[in-house]
């Protein structure tokens, strides 16, 4: 069978063997959590609690009134110690609620309501998803209920579950699919129902054969099709995945729903499962802790708000010597952290610690126009040019050459033999373009 895929892209060394056979473990209950009031794309939440308030696990502590937003919940029970602006793994500082735990934990699975999917309307489902603070767990943390409520004139006819996990090192989605395929499919069905879609696809890179097997077993005979895709970065990027699975191209500047598709991550599906079945808000998630800078790479089920330092300590800590880089996410798309004092958030699919020679050099050579970057760019841009345009702030040209079409996958920087920080320049250029457009 020839595997479906998209054009271009790269084949980095995946380094998944560090964790892909490691069972998901429950992380220790943190003594203190820091819960940022904005963990999603959209409007920030307003705190519903004050300093000194007692909160219960799963209690809603932040809410906002806009449509594109998502509430946040306390991941442990305890007392609100303070509310202040604190470092956020996505960069900058965000108003966050600090909760000191009382050491108790709630059992969600047992004694839950266990709602039956059949009896729920899509309206209610969307409400539950919204109320439980479910956002995309594939990285961008886009509020899931928004994706599920397309305007009337847009007909959605395909739902794709994104199980590609094309980021090197990360295996959290992989483990979820292997360990709880039933829950994944249950959650997926809920999502499909909420979006009113009949046809479901699960896209998985063929290097995760155990996951494919497990899911195929569960979905046999249903309207869900498991698709095995070529192992290639960025197979998991929404537009690439849609191209690979249903063969449609999302037009520039348009959203997946414009071609009748909704894409969600497997983590999201499991979170929806918990939310619908047990009314469990999104308060914990599976995080892969990996990289050559951690002693014992692991997959941990971590409460939102646990500090990186705490999580890393449970994996034997990070290398003490030489250069180290701690990333929220994987090495291709992850964000480097200036401090370990940041919390795990809803979008943290992994913490990657690179050390020593794995860290990229800081010097670069002139572009030799080898064209590798052009060859790998999944959206057909000319990154060498965009890089220069961004670097020199030639913003009109940057736009004309498609700078804003860039999905920031990083393939170009990865492949460049001259080690040119192309994506960094493009980002700078994009920032400047937006600044200019605002004026």
């Amino acid at each position: 069978m020839s595997l479906k895929t998209f054009d271009h892209g790269i084949h980095p060394s995946y380094n998944k063997e560090l964790t892909n056979h490691k069972k998901i473990e429950k992380a220790n209950l943190p003594k203190k959590v820091v819960i940022p009031l904005q963990q999603h794309i959209g409007a920030p939440c307003k705190p519903l609690v004050k300093k000194g308030d007692a909160v219960a696990e799963g209690q809603k502590i932040g809410e906002a009134s806009a449509f594109v937003t998502s509430p946040v919940h306390s991941s442990i029970s305890g007392k609100v110690k303070d509310i202040e602006k604190l470092p956020y793994p996505g960069g900058g500082k965000v108003l966050s609620v600090i909760i000191e735990g009382d050491g108790t934990a709630k059992e969600w699975g047992n004694g839950g309501i266990g709602l039956d999917l059949e009896s729920l309307t899509s309206e209610t489902l969307r409400n539950i998803i919204k109320e439980m603070g479910i956002v995309g767990m594939g990285g961008a943390a886009f509020p899931t209920h928004v994706k599920l409520s397309p305007p009337k004139e847009k007909k959605i006819d395909a739902f794709i579950l994104n199980g590609c996990e094309c980021e090197p090192y990360l295996t959290s989605d992989h483990r979820i699919m292997v360990e709880e395929p039933e829950n994944v499919v249950w959650g997926m069905k809920a999502l499909m129902k909420a979006a009113g879609v009949e046809n479901g696809f699960i896209g998985i890179e063929e290097n995760k054969s155990d996951a494919i097997e497990a899911l195929e077993k569960v979905t046999r005979g249903s309207n869900i099709k498991v698709m095995s895709l070529e192992t290639k970065y960025p197979q998991g990027a929404e537009k690439m995945l849609i191209k690979a699975v249903v063969g449609r191209k999302v037009p520039v500047g348009k959203l997946p729903m414009d071609v009748g598709v909704v894409v969600n991550n497997v983590g999201t599906a499991v979170a929806v499962y918990g939310a619908v079945k047990y009314s469990k808000p999104l308060i914990e998630r599976v995080v892969t802790i990996s990289g050559n800078g951690v002693k014992e790479p692991k997959n941990l089920l971590v409460r939102i708000g646990t500090s990186f330092e705490d999580v890393l300590n449970q994996c034997g800590g990070i290398t003490k010597h030489g250069e180290r880089e701690v990333l929220n996410g994987g090495p291709m798309m992850g964000i480097a952290q200036t401090t370990l004092d940041v919390p795990v958030i809803k979008g943290t699919s992994g913490i990657t610690v690179l050390a020593g020679k794995e860290i990229k050099p800081s010097t670069y050579q002139p572009c030799i126009r080898c064209g590798s970057c052009v060859e790998v760019c999944p959206v057909n841009l000319m990154p060498y040019k965009l890089g220069d345009l961004g670097r020199l702030y030639r913003l009109d040209e940057l736009k004309a050459w498609g700078g804003l079409v860039c999905i920031e996958c990083g393939c170009c920087s990865y492949t460049c033999p001259s080690k040119r920080p192309l994506l960094h320049w493009i980002r700078v250029g994009k920032i400047k373009v937006r600044e200019k457009e605002k004026v």
């Binding site: 202040e84 470092p87 960069g91 900058g92 200036t338 860290i359 670097r391 920080p421 400047k432």
Partner: protein, 284 residues
């Protein structure tokens, strides 16, 4: 024969000349298109640096706006009062006195004062570094890669040996370029008369701020108390903010500041010559 040639030449050349001038005169009359000559004239007055300080795409656009009456004669900040007067004179309107504003860098946390918690690898510009948070623990601080200095078209800025930008107020025309270039919004435009500034933008709680920078505002509130006028300085988001509407502009509030982040007077304002003559002479 000779005479003949001379006559032929004269007639034909004169004829061509006459025909040409008639033709051009006719064309000129028929095809004339009016263009406002005032634009050229105004362009001759304007500095033509296209610095964008007027908030428009360039001097020509500004000139057009002047003629349409949608721009103020003092709009060209780079030109200053002289040019404003010339424009006013040309357009035959009353000249207005422009407030001279200069750039003020509101961060004093340079290499010596701040704590660094990261090593930045990447393009050495502020915008690029800001994407990753930069090296300094203070996330409100000057990043020190001189985007503002690059942006200044008037040679009115430089980086000092402490890694902080210095504005030469005698050279600064208040064009906003540096302020726009700074990704951390540290640079503000203030009228020359203002003397009291809180040279810090850190909004962290005092305890945090104190740990990461020697000269940060730690929100201790002493300046607010010491200000002679109620509300002359307000504490907003852990940061003392001077309210220039009310501030009496004296050095009272600075006296007890434990971190010297709030300062009064010309101390922080440099002239170009003063700065360069204060530098240690390099052995040639």
């Amino acid at each position: 024969m000779t005479g003949n040639i001379v006559i032929i030449s004269m007639v034909s050349m004169g004829g061509i000349g006459a025909a040409l001038s008639l033709f051009l005169a006719y064309a000129d009359k028929k095809l004339k298109v009016e263009e406002d000559p005032r634009i050229e004239a105004l362009l001759n007055i304007l500095p033509n640096t296209n610095c964008g300080g007027c908030g428009r795409a360039g001097c020509r656009v500004f000139a057009e706006a002047l003629i349409q009456g949608t721009a103020s004669v003092t709009g060209c900040v780079a030109g200053g009062q002289d040019i404003a007067d010339s424009i006013a004179k040309y357009l035959g309107v009353e000249s207005v006195k422009a407030d001279r504003v200069v750039a003020v860098v509101l961060c004093r946390g340079g290499e010596k004062e701040t704590v660094k918690n990261a090593v930045y690898k990447g393009e050495r510009t502020c915008v690029a570094a800001n994407l990753t948070g930069g090296e300094k623990a203070c996330t409100y601080s000057c990043l020190g890669y001189a985007d503002c200095v690059e942006a200044c078209k008037f040679d009115a800025m430089t980086m000092n040996d402490n890694g902080l930008p210095v504005v030469f107020y005698d050279a600064c025309v208040g064009c906003w370029a540096c302020a726009r270039a700074c990704p951390r919004d540290i640079i503000e435009m203030h009228p020359m008369e203002r003397k009291l500034f809180n040279y810090c933008r850190n909004k962290d709680k005092g305890a945090v701020a104190r740990k990461i920078c020697k000269v940060s505002c730690i929100a201790c509130g002493l300046c607010v108390k010491d200000c002679a006028v109620e509300g002359g300085i307000e504490m907003i988001d852990n940061l003392a903010v001077v309210n220039y509407e009310k501030c009496p502009q004296d050095d009272q509030p600075t006296k007890r500041c434990p971190t010297t982040c709030i300062l009064f007077g010309e101390e922080e304002k440099m002239t170009k010559d003063a700065y360069y003559s204060s530098l240690p002479k390099k052995a040639v």
